[in-house]
Every structure is written in C-alpha cells, then in structure tokens.
C-alpha cells in the first residue's frame, strides 16, 4: 500500500517536472525566436509565403464560422429582447460587443490553431524526423531563425488581420438576421456598431495578438520536439492543436481580466 502511494507521488512529481521543463523550453524557444527576429535580416520571401499560406488556409473557415456566429447571436438576442421588451432592441450592440471583444478573436484563434498550428507542427515535425532540421544546422542555418521566425512574424501579423476581417463578417451576419428577420433598419443596426469605442476594438485585437503568440510558439515547440517517425508527427500535430486551443481559452479569461482591470475595453 505504501509502495503504491509512493509510486503515485513519484508519478505526479515526474509529471510536474516534465511540465516545468516544457514551460522552460517554450520560454527559451520564444526568447531565441525574439533574438533572431531582432538581429537577423528579415527573410521577406519566406515571411510573405507564410503569410499567404496562413491567410489562404484560414480565410474560408473563419468566414463561415463568424458569419453563422453573428447570425446566431442576432437571432438569439432578438428573440430574448422580444420576450423581455416586446421588441428586438440592441441587436447591433449585443452582436458588436460579443463579436468584436470576444467571439471574433477567440473563434478566429481556435480556427487558426486547428489550421495553422497543425500545419506548422506537422511541417517542422516532419523536417525533424527526416533530419532536415539537422541538415539546416550543418548548412550553417539556425532552424529557429529559418523555421520559427518567419512563421512567428506571419502569425502575429495574420491573426489580428484575420480577426478584423472575421469581426466584419460576424457583424455582417448579425446585420442580415437583424434586417431580414427582425426588420431592424440598417441605419439603426450600424449606428449601434459604430457607437463602439476604440478601446473595445483594441481589447479584441490585443487578445488576438496574444493568441497568435500562444499558437505559433506552441506549434513550433511541438514541431521541434517531435520524435518517433510518422507516428510522432501525428502525435505532435494533435498535441499542438489541443494544447494551443486550451491555452487560448485559459489565456482568454486572464487577458480579459487584465484588460478590464486596465480599463481597455
């Protein structure tokens, strides 16, 4: 019995140590990425290719996700207000705040994580198991500089841009339902959207920037840590997506609390 208890303690201890080690390695990777980002000349071609890839891969799914999210929000809030006030008030306000401050950044980040995080982890992981990462070293190129930095720059640029675009699509989705289902005049709906403050828009975009850092760092880290052939690549890819999604959702709460405390949005 004593042995079983000790075994459990060792197992928990080992897991905590592993987690602490992984956290340290992620921070080290982030630091090295920042160092190379600041000191190495920008590989424009590689960065632009990554940006185009990220945009193209995420564009359609984020459009679809946010369009229907905006529509559902308008539908739900319209019916709720009808129940309380007998008429569909404030749909624009509800859709605007929900999409721009919360759902736009979070849902876009989750889609981005599934599409781009997976692609980054799979690509770097495959390069790792086929010794292409080692080959970079032997050809005098640091893999962090060559693989992580362009993806880092592309992700922190593209996710906020995609979020702005998704916010717009979500708000348009809300407008379609508000106008055609509840007969709310466009001018009323858009007035409520325009009444949002800059700080509310910034709130969402700051979160989006933080999410991009979480996703790209997690995906690159999982890619560089891949071992064990094709099976290992599969494991790294799944782990990158799940970990970054969980971190985005947890980070969302703490970022919202922090930004609210700082009176941003």
């Amino acid at each position: 019995m004593e042995e079983i208890k000790l075994g459990a303690v060792y197992s928990v201890g080992a897991r905590i140590l592993l987690l602490a080690q992984s956290c340290g390695e992620v921070v080290a990777l982030m630091r090295r990425t920042m160092q190379w980002f600041l000191r190495a000349p920008l590989d424009r071609r590689n960065v632009l290719m990554q940006m185009a890839e990220m945009g193209a891969r995420s564009f359609s799914v984020t459009s679809l996700t946010l369009l229907f999210t905006g529509m559902v929000l308008a539908l739900q809030s319209g019916f709720s207000f009808i129940k309380v006030f007998n008429e569909p008030l404030y749909i624009g306000r509800v859709v605007g705040v929900s999409i721009i401050k919360e759902l736009g950044p979070v849902l876009t980040a989750l889609v981005f994580s599934g599409r781009i995080g997976a692609a980054i982890a799979a690509e770097i992981g495959t390069m790792k198991v086929t010794e292409q990462v080692d080959a970079l070293y032997t050809l005098g190129t640091n893999p962090v500089k060559y693989l992580a930095v362009p993806r880092f720059i592309a992700a922190i640029t593209m996710l906020p841009i995609l979020t702005i675009y998704s916010n717009f699509i979500g708000v348009v989705g809300g407008y379609i339902v508000a106008n055609f289902r509840f007969q709310i005049p466009g001018v009323v709906y858009w007035d409520e959207i325009y009444s949002m403050q800059i700080s509310e828009v910034s709130h969402g975009l700051i979160k989006s920037l933080a999410f991009s850092l979480i996703i790209v760092t997690t995906a690159c880290y999982k890619g560089f840590k891949t071992s064990g052939g094709a099976e290992g690549v599969g494991r790294a890819t799944t782990s990158a997506v799940v970990t970054s999604m969980v971190l985005v959702l947890i980070g969302d709460y703490f970022l919202t609390a922090l930004l609210t405390a700082l009176h941003i949005g």
């Binding site: 495959t126 390069m127 080692d134 080959a135 032997t138 050809l139």
Partner: protein
C-alpha cells in the same frame, strides 16, 4: 584532422558510447562499421556538433568542439559537409535550391557563380539538368547523389557520410562508392563514412574501424580488418548469425 578522445554518450541512461577514441588523418577515407545501435551515426553527429557528448573530447582541425560557442561551432561546421542517411533534402525547395542552400546562407558568393557551382556539383554526381525538380520527383539513389552534391557545394575540408549506400540496389551502391572516391580525388577532402556495407567499405576506405559495445573494437587497413583474428570482427564482416555477437531474438506467440 579529427581526433575523438574517450567519448561517452548516453540517451535516457542507456549508454551508447563508453569511451570511444579514434583519430582520422588528413586526406584519408575512414570508415566506421558496426552493428545497428552501436552509435555510429551518433558519433558522426557529435563530430559535426549536432549532439554534445556527455564526456570526452572531439578535436576538428585542432579546435576543441566541446568548448566552442555557438558562433565558433558554426565556423567549424562550415568546413564539414554532412551527407545524411535519408538524404534530408528540403522538401519545399528545388534540387538547385537545395544544393545552393549553404552557399546562399554561409558565403558571399554572387548568384551567377552560385548557379554555376550548383550545375558543376550536380554534374559531378551525374545529375545534370535536375535543378528545377523537387526532391519528391527523384529516386532514392538520385536523392543520395543530390545529398552528396549539397554537402560538397561549399568545398568542405571534411565530408561525413552517414550510411550512404543503405537502401540502394547493388549497382547504385557501387555508383555511390565510386562517387565517394571520385569526390575525394576531386576535392582532396577527408571523409568519414559510416556503413554496414562491407563491399563498399573495402572499396573506398583508407582505414576501417569497428565499433562494438560502445568502444572501438578494432581499427586498421581494409586488409587488416578482412583478415582480423578477432571472432567478433570476423562474424560481423562475414554477416553470419553464428558467433559471439548476441543476436536479438523475437518471441512469436
């Protein structure tokens, strides 16, 4: 040229090297043979600085690798060309871009000159006109040859070959062996070759050493190895399952 002194390396407490020492002279082709899992490739990766040893020293051109900073290590890596077991060509780049990779990243060579070098190195390995193809469009043997061309592009003083003939048919293995000799004649570089292929080892080597149980068991010229009195060496070079080398067994239930 390359000196390895009393090298120890373990992975997850499993020892791979238990005091490996060897010396490679300038201009020779030094072949390392040994069973699977004896740490031949790990030794090459330590010589090029991809893996740090737990204990012991490696000197490349009198530079002690274990004490070098990342930048200094990169200077040493510039004089080493590495041919990977599975070629490790960059999938996203064309063959021409693969061969030019080191030149573009490590030298000030101008673009027209790079194109000329790429063409010359590919011609040397018998692959003219494949610059625009992607690695996926080539056969295993062709990939190996491109890997050699890429490693040679910077005219390195040292070339490390990790199982260059593994997975190739006998004819292609012979082509690669001849290519290794041709490269040495052409560039005068020193080479370390890791292989299981005894035919290739006899053909190309100046000296051969055998790794066994984490140490160098025997080293000598190809004829000394061929006629060695050591039963372990004899069993390995004859490829027999009978002898002192323990053979892992599989229990089929």
């Amino acid at each position: 040229m390359i000196r390895v002194e009393n090298l120890f390396k373990s992975f997850r407490s499993k020892p791979v090297h238990k005091g490996v020492s060897l010396e490679v002279q300038e201009g020779e082709i030094y072949t390392i043979i040994g069973g699977s899992g004896t740490g031949k490739s790990v030794l090459l990766k330590q010589i090029v600085g991809l893996i740090r040893p737990d204990q012991g020293e490696i000197y490349v051109d009198d530079k002690r690798l274990t004490t070098l900073s990342e930048e200094e290590l990169q200077d040493v890596q510039k004089m080493i060309g590495y041919v990977f077991q599975e070629s490790a060509l960059f999938d996203s780049l064309t063959i021409g871009e693969n061969v030019a990779f080191g030149l573009r990243n490590l030298s000030d060579t101008k673009e027209p000159k790079i194109t000329e070098i790429v063409r010359e190195k590919l011609a040397l390995v018998g692959l003219s006109g494949v610059e625009k193809l992607k690695p996926a469009q080539l056969s295993g043997g062709m990939k190996k040859r491109v890997g050699i061309a890429r490693a040679m592009a910077m005219n390195p003083k040292i070339l490390l070959y990790d199982e260059p003939t593994t997975g190739l048919d006998p004819v292609m293995s012979d082509v690669i062996s001849n290519l290794i000799l041709e490269v040495k004649k052409h560039s005068g570089s020193t080479a370390i070759v890791v292989t299981h292929d005894m035919k290739a080892a006899y053909e190309i080597s100046s000296r051969i050493c055998m790794l066994y149980e984490g140490k160098v068991l025997e080293a000598g010229t190809p004829s000394q190895i061929r006629f060695s009195n050591n039963p372990i060496v004899q069993q390995f070079i004859s490829g027999s399952s009978e002898g002192p080398i323990p053979v892992p067994t599989i229990d089929l239930v």
